[in-house]
Amino acid sequence: MSVLEVRDLSKSFGGVEAVADVSFDLGAGEFLALIGPNGAGKTTCFNMLNGYLRPDRGSVKLEGRELVGRRPRAIVRMGVGRTFQITRTFLSMTVRENVQMALISHHKRMFDFWSRAVRMYEGEADALLDLVSMRDQAARPCSELAYGDLKRLELAIALAHEPALLLMDEPTAGMAPSERVALMALTGEIVKSRGVSVLFTEHDMDVVFAHAHRILVLNRGRLIAEGSGAEIRENPLVQEVYLGGGTVFAAEGV
């Protein structure tokens, strides 16, 4: 059974159809890539899945439950985690405290006025940090972290909510090539071990072909192709969109 069912999702901005009639399914444990040239509508799509944008039309069902019309925070609580293209963390807190905050919120303890926050869910937070190999930096202030480490921390934070689905918008943007491979390999392992499904956008085709189980191609708001890495590589429509034919996939899209 599919975890996520997207049907006829559409959004226009003042006459421009940013996303038009997009439908797809995402299976349990699947690692699905959404690719397309700049301005294709990928982020708009994500924002509708997250509740940050309200679609003009269409429906999004998570394990059968409608997401359209709910607030972002409600969607998080239903099991849709996300990481940000530009990292967002609580800079005045330590790495561990950032994960603890996610756990506190997940367990609905945010309006506890008395307990000491730093003593709550310490074990769980450390376990999550272990998972992303950040345990050794747990006590460091978040403001001192390197960029790649912040990305891994965001992953740990997202996992604190035990999501069924993880949305990652350009998870490796701004990282060095070696870091990209490491982060995606890590994500792949976590997906496997926790049974999480992942939908991600990515411009680095090496990353996409190496990790995605299946690929969706978006162009001018419409899905134009869907399939495995090999199928997408051979698809003439896709080659046309990425001007210059098949060789483009070797180079990095910008």
Partner: protein, 617 residues
């Protein structure tokens, strides 16, 4: 018919004065992003200078108008001095620093004016050639009002030409719209900022100078005008000159007619209009998002639980405090009650401002509501002391719940301005609604119950309430709720993404801070035995800001130290003749030399001698 026209013309004349004051403030804010409290001081100095020059020249029509212009120019030079010596150093500091620094200037200018022109109000001469009234549809209209109605749009036109027809003006507009643009200016940036400040100050000076035929020149002109000027700027959209004009006309004309129906509304009306506009258009009529203020702040260090040694030191302090009445006189006990009230007030302000990231320019509102609720509970409901004391924080929490709901919809300076508006509305109501609140005469005879009536007995009661309140706030700062507030302050997007209800959290933070300010107000009112509207006033709010700043905003202990230092300095300095100069000077020194405040300094000291762990940074 004629009557209504006369009312309209009066409104328009007031609009012109108001516009002249506000437009300079708006221009300065637009480019430098400084919320300049000293603008009211420039206005006042303009009036004083014009008074002196006009009486000295005594030269008919030409001499009169020349005097006004010269006064405006001198004020422009004064603005230049303030910009070069003080503001230039704090353009990248957080809003709080800028606000408090400009308030330091306000204090210094007040004493300078007192020394030069004396404490008496000065009644200016009428404008030569415009001293009479003309009859329009049978109603007498002062000629000078008609002149003002012309001058306002003339100045607006001149500024428009300056901004659209000169290279400099185009730069100013570009800088107002786009912050990066300003930084790209490089060397020219300094020059641009200085020139803008001179222009803005000169306009304030002109506004003051033009007032002298209409009202007596007094030392209260500065703060009485600044609230309304801010309102005009915020309604119009910060940085927008035409917005300021529209807002000035809107407020003044509304006011001219509203007082016919409800004569007491004058004080409250501008702030009500502002609140309504901000709720409908959060950035003002002509403002845009992005014209938001606020310097970049260093990321704060993570909080630490108190070490065993720290807890012992603190316990020792509390014990010494508790033992103090045994060894000192009643006078010290009374002073210590003041200190503890100030501490609780400052800690509650820090809770929403430092921890919650919501800067409040009107925290006195909740202090005052607490004080008045207790006083009125005793007077009208016949409550005894303890129930009256309980009523205070509840009423303050209620007021904070009401106003906070609106405030948390905004952020940054706009939120700060709305808190100011809320406080001014409450102040205005308290001041005007004499039958219930006693108005200017306040409420008297609010003394503690018999068992707590001695100075020492009341000291212990105050200590339990204030120290208890501070303990609770500190405990909350370390709780998930307090961490949540810090999280929202750090990144609202992240907070939402971990499933937090950001606005609800801020709203509750606002309410908690209000409730504890109310508790401080309650302890205050029973220690003084009376309460007057100034407990809700701007000065009281700014006192709180200074305490937080003095102590250092990044430390939980900051507001406690800051309030202690503040009250002790105030107690010493206010016995001197020119205490404002000294106090203003101290504020400026702290802002310019020790921006992390007393707590920051103590923290550095403790690290240096090894009592506190962690890297000395």
């Amino acid at each position: 018919m004629g009557f209504y026209l006369a009312q309209l013309l009066t409104g328009l004349a007031n609009a012109s004065s108001l516009f002249l004051i506000a437009c300079g403030l708006s221009i300065i804010f637009g480019v430098t992003r400084i919320v300049n409290f000293a603008h009211g001081s420039f206005y006042m100095v303009g009036a004083y200078l014009a008074y002196s020059l006009v009486t000295w020249m005594d030269g008919g029509i030409f001499g009169f108008w020349l005097s006004l212009l010269v006064a405006a120019l001198i004020v422009g030079v004064l603005g230049l001095i303030v910009e070069v010596t003080i503001l230039r150093r704090i353009y990248h500091a957080p809003e709080l620093f800028q606000l408090v620094a400009t308030f330091g200037v306000v204090l210094i200018v007040q004493d300078a004016a007192l020394a030069i022109w004396g404490a008496e109000d000065l009644l200016g001469p009428r404008a030569p050639g415009l001293a009479r009234a003309v009859r329009i549809l049978g109603e007498p209209i002062p000629e000078y009002d008609l002149a003002l109605i012309v001058i306002g749009p003339l100045v607006l036109g001149a500024i428009w030409l300056l901004f659209h027809r000169t290279r400099w003006g185009i730069l100013v507009r570009a800088a107002t719209q786009d912050r990066e643009m300003v930084d790209a200016l490089g060397v020219n940036q300094r020059w641009l900022f200085s020139a803008v400040f001179v222009l803005g100050s000169a306009l304030a000076g002109l506004g003051g100078a033009l007032q002298i035929p209409r009202e007596a020149v007094s030392l209260q002109m500065d703060l009485s005008v600044i609230g309304e000027a801010f309102v005009v700027v915020v309604i119009g959209g910060m940085g927008s000159v035409s917005g300021a004009f529209v807002a000035a006309v809107l407020i003044s004309v509304l006011n001219a007619f509203a007082i016919l129906i409800f004569p007491q509304i004058s004080i409250v009306l501008p702030f009500v209009v502002m609140a309504v506009v901000l709720i409908v258009r959060p950035y003002g009529l002509f403002g845009r998002p992005g014209s938001e203020a606020g310097g970049a702040e260093e990321p704060e260090q993570p909080l630490r639980l108190m070490s065993r040694r720290g807890a012992m030191v603190l316990a020792a302090f509390v014990l010494i405090l508790a033992a103090s009445p045994a060894v000192t006189g009643d006078f010290t006990s009374i002073l210590l009650v003041d200190v503890m009230v100030a501490m609780l007030f400052a800690v509650s302000l820090h809770f929403m401002m430092g921890i919650g990231g919501m800067v409040s320019f009107g925290h006195a509102a909740y202090f005052g509501v607490g004080a008045y609720a207790a006083a009125m509970g005793m007077k009208y409901l016949g409550l005894s002391m303890l129930p009256a004391m309980a009523l205070g924080p509840v009423a303050a929490a209620g007021a904070a719940l009401l106003f906070g709901w609106f405030c948390v919809r905004l952020s940054g300076v706009y939120l700060a301005m709305l808190t100011l508006a809320a406080a001014q509305i409450l102040w205005g109501v308290t001041y005007q609604w004499g039958e219930v609140t006693g108005g200017d005469d306040g409420i008297l005879g609010i003394w503690p119950a018999g068992w707590a009536s001695g100075d020492k007995a009341y000291f212990y009661l105050a200590m339990v309430l204030c120290v208890g309140g501070m303990f609770l706030l500190r405990r909350m700062a370390h709780s998930p709720f307090g961490y949540g507030l810090r999280g929202v302050r750090d990144s609202a997007v992240r907070a939402e993404a971990i499933g937090m209800d950001v606005k609800l959290h801020q709203w509750m933070g606002f309410t908690v801070a209000g409730a504890f300010a109310g508790l401080a107000g309650v302890v205050f009112v029973f220690s003084k035995g009376s309460v007057f509207p100034d407990v809700l006033g701007i000065s009281q709010s700014v006192d709180g800001l200074i305490m937080v700043l003095l102590g250092g905003i990044h430390a939980l202990a900051g507001p406690i130290l800051g309030a202690g230092v503040f009250i002790l300095i105030e107690d010493w300095v206010t016995r001197l003749d020119y205490w404002r100069v000294i106090f203003g000077g101290i504020i400026l020194v702290v802002v310019l030399v020790a921006p992390d405040g007393v707590a920051g300094g103590v923290d550095r000291l403790l690290r240096a001698v090894g009592i506190r762990r962690g890297d000395a940074t």
